[in-house]
């Protein structure tokens, strides 16, 4: 980050309302947007960006008030992710994943565990990373007295070097049992590799991780009581909860693209020769394109917000979550994912039609929005999200919980 000065927020009190937090996020976004294109090109490790998230208080948004957290809920967190993603999709992703990893204790852990984790996280303004790519089945967990030892490799992580703590995931040796645990990111044996070099989301530090005997107490294994996992339906809310982070990430990037393009069209685009218009903003087809893209984006945003509220009813009473309720929530999130994927690819691809040929200069970097969406929307195929929705409306079938549904 080229131009971060010590943040004014350090001395300011926390916002006291959801809207206040969204406004705070917009202020952070304004700082990020000043050099977003240049930072995308440089693709440096985002230490300064994470500093900004900490200074502004956004990292503790979901944390308990009594320990210095913001005491907000998921609908606000999603809006904050969207706001940040308008300026910088990478930082939006880092923050959104952080919220989920921070919440992982609550999703999977016992009450004692998550109360402890959330208190520590809020007090220390921990930034969470994760090494939980579930398509790699190559982290083995072995027991060594009262400790667990993680060994293996994950091909993708998030946050890695910029995180204070990392959520690890592995399979207990000789079993089918997955174990989650939170360890300090500087734990011995935990090595983050510098091999994330993708066309988009370039600052997310999503490279591979090696776990060479990373040690953590058995007692920190989330959700285990006397070394036996205590399953709840609520565990499986991890997927729709993070997928809705993705949705808001895409919608934020799309909104940022549209705003950036509108500024360009307003201030720099030439009108076309036959138009009889002096300015590009007066061309009917330019106006029409903005109207069409905006309308679709607003619909997707409304769906994302509504589903966040639907999810909040589940998060509000975790023990009451039934398989049916979880399944319907997952289907709704799948629909939002389908719509958000479509609209964000469309918006980020079509803005060029209303900015014009000169806007393709690399210096402008307007393609970062498309590259960011294009990269992250490959996380899991959207066709299978549509399948969840289609099956539900056709046959009433709810998706079986997996790592992706």
């Amino acid at each position: 980050m080229t131009a971060v000065t010590p943040s004014a927020w350090q001395t300011e009190p926390f916002p006291d309302s959801p809207q206040g937090w969204i406004d705070r996020a917009a202020e952070v976004a304004a700082v990020l947007s000043t050099d977003a294109a240049a930072r995308d090109k440089a693709a440096a490790t985002p230490y300064a960006e994470v500093r900004l998230l900490k200074d502004s208080g956004l990292v503790t948004l979901l944390g308990p008030v009594e320990h210095g957290g913001g005491g907000q809920n998921w609908p606000t967190a999603y809006r904050v992710v969207r706001e940040i993603s308008k300026a910088d999709g990478s930082v939006g992703q880092l923050l959104g994943y952080h919220y989920l990893w921070n919440w992982a204790a609550r999703l999977v852990g016992t009450r004692e565990q998550w109360e402890h984790v959330e208190a520590e996280a809020a007090r220390n303004r921990w930034f969470f990373g994760g090494a939980v790519n579930p398509r790699d089945n190559d982290v083995v967990v072995t027991e060594d007295g009262d400790d667990l030892v993680f060994t293996g490799r994950k091909s993708f992580s998030t946050g890695s070097k910029v995180s204070d703590v990392t959520v690890l995931e592995g399979v207990l040796d000789g079993t089918q049992t997955h174990i989650f645990a939170i360890v300090p990111s500087d734990s011995p044996g935990l090595t983050f590799h510098d091999d994330w070099d993708n066309i988009g989301q370039r600052l997310t530090e999503s490279g591979s991780v090696t776990l060479d005997g990373v040690r953590t107490p058995w007692a920190s294994a989330a959700g285990f009581v006397d070394r036996v996992f205590q399953p709840r339906v609520y565990n499986t809310l991890n997927v729709p909860t993070i997928q809705l982070v993705f949705v808001n990430l895409y919608l934020g990037i799309a909104a940022g693209a549209l705003e950036t393009a509108a500024t360009y069209t307003r201030t720099r685009s030439r009108s076309w020769l036959h138009g009889g218009h002096d300015n590009a903003v007066d061309e009917p087809y330019v106006i029409d394109a903005y109207g069409e893209l905006t309308s679709r984006l607003w619909a997707a945003e409304a769906l994302a917000d509504r589903i966040a509220e639907e999810g909040e009813r589940l998060h509000g009473d975790p023990d009451a979550v039934t398989e049916a309720a979880r399944g319907e929530f997952e289907v709704r999130v799948a629909a939002a994912k389908a719509v958000a994927t479509e609209v964000s690819l469309e918006v980020t691809g079509r803005i060029f039609e209303v900015t014009g040929a000169r806007a393709t200069t690399s210096a402008e970097g307007l393609d970062r929005f498309w590259r960011n969406v294009r990269t992250h929307t490959l996380h899991d195929p959207v066709a299978y999200k549509r399948r969840e929705v289609g099956r539900f409306v056709l046959t009433g079938e709810i998706p079986e919980p997996t790592w992706y549904s």
């Binding site: 993708n198 030439r270 036959h274 039609e353 200069t361 210096a363 066709a383 997996t402």
Partner: protein, 401 residues
Amino acid sequence: MTAHVTAHVIADDAEALETAGRLAAEFRAGASERDSARKLPHAEVERLSASGLLGVTVPADHGGADIRHETLAEVFRLLASGDPSLAQIPQSHFVYVNVLRRQGTPAQREFFFAEVLAGRRFGNAQSEAGTRHVQDIRTRLVPAPDGSFLLSGVKHYSTGALFAHWIPVLARAEDDTLHVAYVPREARGLTVVDDWDGMGQRTTASGTVKLDRVEVPADRVVPHHLTFQGPQLHGAVAQLLHTAIDVGIAAAALAEAAEFVRTRSRPWFESGHESAADDPLLIQRFGELGVQLRAAEALLATAARTVDAAGTPGAGLTEESAAEASIAVAAAKAFAASAAVDIGGALFELAGTRSALDGLNLHRFWRDARTHTLHDPARWKVQHIGRYLLNGTLPPRHGLL
């Protein structure tokens, strides 16, 4: 004068196609690396010259193959399927060969067609920045007492100029009419600046040409404005070649996606298939994009045949046949633009997570398509097509339709 060039002379349409297919395959091999390193294709441009492809529109009575537009479009489509930047470099070359075919004096034709058959290249110096719109040209040919001219101005987006032996410069005469001055690349007062920094079509070297009181003999100036005083195909042919480039990008992107899926993609775990290439949802998307690509190809071929069938100025070309050719090309271009951008983007959803690795440089198709399709706005093509369809309004005569 320029370095000595020797070029093969291509005999006919079939040889042109065969040559283009062969070169496209050669060029494909290094295209990604040239793009990512922004390494200009000097050697490849020389290969193009040597192959004789640059001479295929020279009239038969000057020794050229005078190939059909359908063939020329296919040549461009093939080249673009190998390397889209490389395919765009000769686009203005053919445009300015056409200017000579239409408005050159016998002496100019004799001289320049010989240059072209020898493999020499025309670039372009057309576009100006900071003016109200793309046809607002301010570069001037100022008459000197000896009958020659002095040419001053600044041109942007001058695709091919850096590689050219001759740079045709669009300029206004004293009476404001449009002329083309053919200026040698090494003329005193002419500078080519390699400042093109587009996110796509990165190795076209579409940089800046600066002209500072460049001396131009009268016999190097061609009255291009006359082309637009009657029915003309100048715009249709220029746009046809751009269309072929977009169709070529689309085809290359889809072929690359298929290759990637067959050889590198993992199946999605819910698909129930061992191989990604057997996933019916993936196959369906390939099918949809295949239909879109075939439609673009069919429109390109139909448009080219419409141009061929329209007649030539003074020999059968009418207001109506010229308009139909322009509209057919405009329809093909509008459609091809969407197809190229769509397929360039869809490649990733087909190929899956691993395809986003920067090192694979698979985003070059989308970047090339997105950049090249903005050359002139598709929305205005659509508007002219609508006027023609609804009210029978013939499209305006200019170089972009």
